[in-house]
């Protein structure tokens, strides 16, 4: 029973996050849609942390070379996602400028 209660708790969190997501994202203007995509891309790079957790648990016991390779691959992909995503978003957002007042 405890398991079910826990699952419902997680589902509640999921549901609320979905609503918050729709609410927040629907206010983003079209001009920022590309940075929005790459920013959300970077945020799903959180999967990198998932990889760290899983690898941490895995390496606590005996492992095989195969699992080590998969671990490194998962971590590498996750890291590409996080670091690349934030870097490219930052680069794009730097470019969005207001109209300059007096001549530049």
């Amino acid at each position: 029973m405890n398991d079910i209660a826990h699952l419902i708790q997680l589902l509640t969190v999921l549901l609320l996050a979905v609503f918050v997501g729709f609410e927040v994202i629907s206010k983003v203007p079209t001009t920022l849609h590309t940075p929005l995509m790459s920013a959300t891309n970077a945020i799903h790079g959180i999967v990198f942390i998932g990889a760290i957790v899983v690898v941490g648990a895995l390496f606590a016991g005996p492992t095989s070379p195969l699992l080590a390779v998969i671990s490194v691959a998962a971590l590498t992909l996750g890291a590409i996602n996080v670091f690349g995503g934030f870097a490219v978003t930052e680069r794009m957002l730097q470019m969005f400028k207001k109209k300059e007042g007096p001549r530049s």
Partner: protein
Amino acid sequence: MSIALSLANLVAVALFIYGLHQLNSPPTARAGNRLAMVGMAIALVSSLIQTQGIGWWAILVGVILGGAIGIVAALRVKMTAMPQMVALYNGAGGGAAALISTLEFFVLASGNGENAVVSVSLVLSAIIGCLSFAGSIIAFLKLQELMTGRPITYPGQQVVNAAILLAILGLAGWFIATLGTMPVLAFLGLLLCSLLLGVLFVLPIGGADMPVVISLLNSFTGLAVAVTGFEINSTLLIICGALVGASGTLLTVMMGKAMNRPLTNVLFGAFGSGGGSEPAAGSGGPQQIRSASADDVAIMLAYASKVIFVPGYGMAVAQAQHSVKALGDQLEKRGVKVLYAIHPVAGRMPGHMNVLLAESNVPYELLLDMEDANPEFPTTDVALVIGANDVTNPAARNVKSSPIYGMPILDVDKAANVIVLKRSMRSGFAGIDNPLYEMPNTSMLFGDAKASVDALTAAVKAL
């Protein structure tokens, strides 16, 4: 320890949400991205502390390798290539989710199985992660033009996809029934089928539909990450995945609306494959089409009071955004009011044109989206269409038989004069004739978009 971790994750989530909130306007957007970065750093450090150094070398290798690849690519990529870059990062996230599930599977397979929640979420995250990974790679190859951007279709396509989907569902059922203790080969089969389906479902989708596909793949990865959260019991992953999933879904729906086509039509319609049969000739060439010289157009532009630029994918292909800005500056110097009208699906991803014009320093206040741009056209002297085609096609308004009938378009034909910069008379991506080109107030300026715009700038300067 665990309480500290939970608190750190709470702070990270708050920063992500507030950071996304700040993306609601260009002046605060950069701070928003920084906040999200801080959130990620907090979550990262706290999870590293939690591992107590176990597996540190694998994490180190991953950070160095992945971080270097990610950051170098991010700093080098051209703004015109942003859609494929986003596709790659997206694929990386999906792939990571699938690999995490694979690791968990090996842990499960060596034990006596896990509970149902873990099994279901594990198999879902493996499937969706693989779909997203493979689909993103194909999207990347198409956008990078390493393979044709045209839809790839073959007889029985739908049947093959359905068969693979059934195989995936069957294997997933087996996996869940055995609580994750199925044979390794069967699990590998599941991964392969999912990868294959990811490839096959993006293959028939053409270049102009990429904004929808990129958004959809984005929401897939979000979903995969959320499900991974259930798998490893992490609310952090669930929340982040849900945020991304919501964002991707919202964008997908917006893009679909902007093309007036339901998602099923985009995914299964293989748009443009039918019309592509009449190559090159398109509308058959010289009907009542007027072509103008750069000098004629320059005079028209220079003595106008309001000009609207309408950029499309052609501007990105020709890398003409800086030239466009230079022309705009030149006109503004002469007192001409210059605006930019941007269709939601212009380019290859949501907001593609906006980023390119931002790169060339066009202030974002001058970029109008469709609702704001259309009322401007009737009082506009010249609408300059730069490499856009279908999104300006008036056939969408009144030709019921047209494949794009009903798609909201930019009303460039309502401007006093329309100048279309175009490489040749070839019809657009969808192979549809564009009656705009035959209208009495339209003139064509043939040639590469960048070369044409540069010629216009020079001609305006010389006046």
